[in-house]
Amino acid sequence: MSGTLDRRWIYLAMMLAVALPILWNGVTGKTFPESPTPPSQACFDAIEALPAGSRVLVSFDYDPASEGELAPMATTFLRHLMHKGLRPVIIALWPLGPTKAEETIANVMKVDFPDRVSGRDYVNLGFQTGNEGVLKVIGTDFRKQFPVDRSGTPVDRLPIMEGITKVGDFPLVITISAGYPGGKEWVQYVSSANPGLVLLAGVTGVQASQVYSYYPGQLRGMLAAIKGAAEYEALVSAAIDGDRVTAPKYTEARRRMAPQLFGHLLLIALIVIGNAMYFAQRRCKAVAP
C-alpha cells in the first residue's frame, strides 16, 4: 500500500517543509519565542554564578557533520563566557574540533571582544588523541596531555594556565559533543571523579536521551539538540542584548526552529497518512471474500 506514494514526493515535501521556513526566516528575520526548559536554564545559571576571571574548560567534541546542531551552542557558550568576563580554555577530543573552535573564536572573540588576548583571556589548546584516556590523565596531570597551545606556545608560558594542574582546578567544564567521546565520557571520567566540578553538556538530539540520565546529578545542565540551543540562545540574548536587535550570528539556533517545526509536522502527517492507508488496507482484506 505504501507503494502507492512514490518516495520522491516525500522527499520533495520534506525539502519544502525545511526550505520554505528558512526562506521565511531570511525575509522576515522573525523567530519563534522560546521558553527555557530546566536543563537549559541550568546551563545559563551555572555560568552566571561564576565570578569574573574564572577559567572554564570548553571541549569541542564534534565535527562538521553535527555543525548544524552544535555550532550555535558553541557560539552562544563562548559569547556568554566572554560577556561575563570568564576565560575559556578550549580543548578537543575530536580531530576536527580545534578547527571548529578556531572558527567560533574568529566569529565571537575576534569580532565582538577584540580587546581579549589569546593566552591570557582565552586559549585553544587543540586536539589530543586517546579519547577517554585523555580524560583519565587530565584528571591528575592536565599539562601532560596538553603541553602546548595550538600555536606551539608551552602552556607554562600562558598566563591563563597559571595554577592549573588538573581538570579539577576548573570550576566549570563544558563539553559540546556529537557522540563518542563526548558527554557520557566526560561524566564517567571527569564529573564522577571530581564531585565539586560543575559539568555542562551541549549534545545532539541523538545523544540527548542517553546523556539525560546523568542530569541533574553528574551533569548540572544540558542543551539537548537545536531546541536546547535555541532556549539557551534566547536566555543569553535577553541578558546581553535586552531590547536591542541581536546580531544574526547569535540567532542561528532560533532561526532553525521554524524548519524543525515544519519538518516535525510533516513527519506526523506522514505517519498519520501511512497508518490510515494501513488500516484501510487491512479492512479491505478483512471484508474481501
Binding site: 505504501s2 506514494l5 518516495r7 516525500i10 522527499y11 515535501a13 520534506m14 525539502m15 525545511v18 519563534f32 519565542p33 521558553s35 526548559t37 530546566p38 565535527d63 562538521p64 557533520a65 553535527s66 555543525e67 548544524g68 576536527l96 578547527t99 588523541t129 586517546g130 579519547n131 584516556g133 585523555v134 583519565k136 590523565v137 591528575t140 596531570d141 601532560k144 595550538r150 600555536s151 606551539g152 571523579a193 540527548a208 536521551s209 542517553q210 539525560y212 540520565s213 539537548a224 539538540a225 531546541k227 526552529m257 521554524a258 524543525q260 517545526l261 519538518g263 516535525h264 509536522l265 510533516l266 513527519l267 506526523i268 506522514l270 505517519i271 497518512i273 501511512g274 497508518n275 494501513y278
Partner: protein, 231 residues
C-alpha cells in the same frame, strides 16, 4: 610464550588502572599505562591506513561491483595524506618566516585547510542532512500502530515531536497553570525525565556490570578472544 606475555601485560595494565583511584602512589602508573594506550592507538591509525589500502586495492584489481568507489577512496586517501604530510601550500609561521614548513598543515590558506573547508565539510554536512529525507520516508512506510506497544511508541513520538517545537505552545499553551503539566512541552520533558531516564539508567547499570565482569575475565585470562583465534 608470546601469549603469556600478552596476558601478563593485560593483567598488569588492568590492575594498575583498577587500583589507581584508591592508591595515590599508583596514579602516575595509571597515567603511564594510558600513555602506552595512546601510543598503541596511534599505531592503530597506521594499521588502519594499511588495511584500507589493501582492501580497496583488492577491490579495484578485481573490478568487482562498485570498484569506482574504491578508486575514489584511494585517490582521496593518497591525496589527503600527501597534502597533510607534505604540508602543501602551508604558509611559514610568523616566528620562523624563513623556514618554509614552519606553519601548521591545517593553517588557513593551506591545501589541507582547503580540502577540509571545501570538500570534507560540505560532504559530511550533506550526509547528515539527507538523513531527514530517509527518516521521513521510513516513518511513512514502517511506523504502524499494529499493537498496544507500537501505539504507545507512536503517541510518545507525537508528544516529543510537537513538544520540541513551537507547535506544543500553540496547541496546549492555553491550558491553565494547574494543568500545566499536560502542556506538550512539559509532557516532552516529563517523558525524557522519567521514562527515558529510568530506562536508560537500567541499561547503563547493566552495561557497567557487564563491563566489570568482562574486565575481570580478561585480566584473569579466562577470556582470550582478543589474542585472536581460539586461544
Amino acid at each position: 610464550m608470546s601469549r603469556s606475555i600478552a596476558l601478563l601485560i593485560c593483567l598488569v595494565g588492568g590492575l594498575t588502572m583498577l587500583v589507581s583511584p584508591f592508591l595515590p602512589m599508583a596514579t602516575g602508573w595509571a597515567n603511564e599505562v594510558t600513555d602506552w594506550f595512546n601510543i598503541l592507538a596511534a599505531m592503530a591509525f597506521v594499521l588502519g591506513g594499511g588495511s584500507l589500502l589493501k582492501v580497496q586495492l583488492m577491490r579495484l584489481s578485481a573490478r568487482g561491483p562498485g570498484w569506482g568507489y574504491s578508486a575514489v577512496t584511494l585517490l582521496a586517501f593518497v591525496v589527503t595524506l600527501w597534502v597533510g604530510l607534505g604540508k602543501v601550500g602551508v604558509v611559514a609561521d610568523a616566528s620562523a618566516p624563513a623556514v618554509a614548513w614552519s606553519g601548521k598543515p591545517d593553517d588557513e590558506g593551506s591545501a589541507f585547510w582547503w580540502i577540509y573547508l571545501y570538500v570534507m565539510t560540505p560532504i559530511t554536512s550533506t550526509l547528515f542532512a539527507v538523513l531527514a529525507f530517509y527518516v521521513a520516508s521510513a516513518a511513512f512506510r514502517a511506523f504502524r500502530a499494529k499493537n498496544l506497544e507500537a501505539t504507545l511508541l507512536l503517541v510518545t513520538a507525537f508528544i516529543i515531536l510537537l513538544g520540541r517545537t513551537f507547535a506544543g505552545v500553540v496547541l496546549t499553551g492555553w491550558l491553565p497553570d494547574w494543568a500545566s503539566g499536560l502542556r506538550l512541552e512539559n509532557l516532552a520533558v516529563t517523558i525524557m525525565d522519567v521514562f527515558n531516564t529510568a530506562g536508560n539508567r537500567a541499561i547503563i547499570i547493566g552495561i557497567a556490570l557487564g563491563v566489570a565482569s568482562t574486565g575481570i575475565r580478561l585480566m584473569l585470562g579466562l577470556d582470550r578472544s582478543y589474542l585472536g583465534g581460539d586461544a
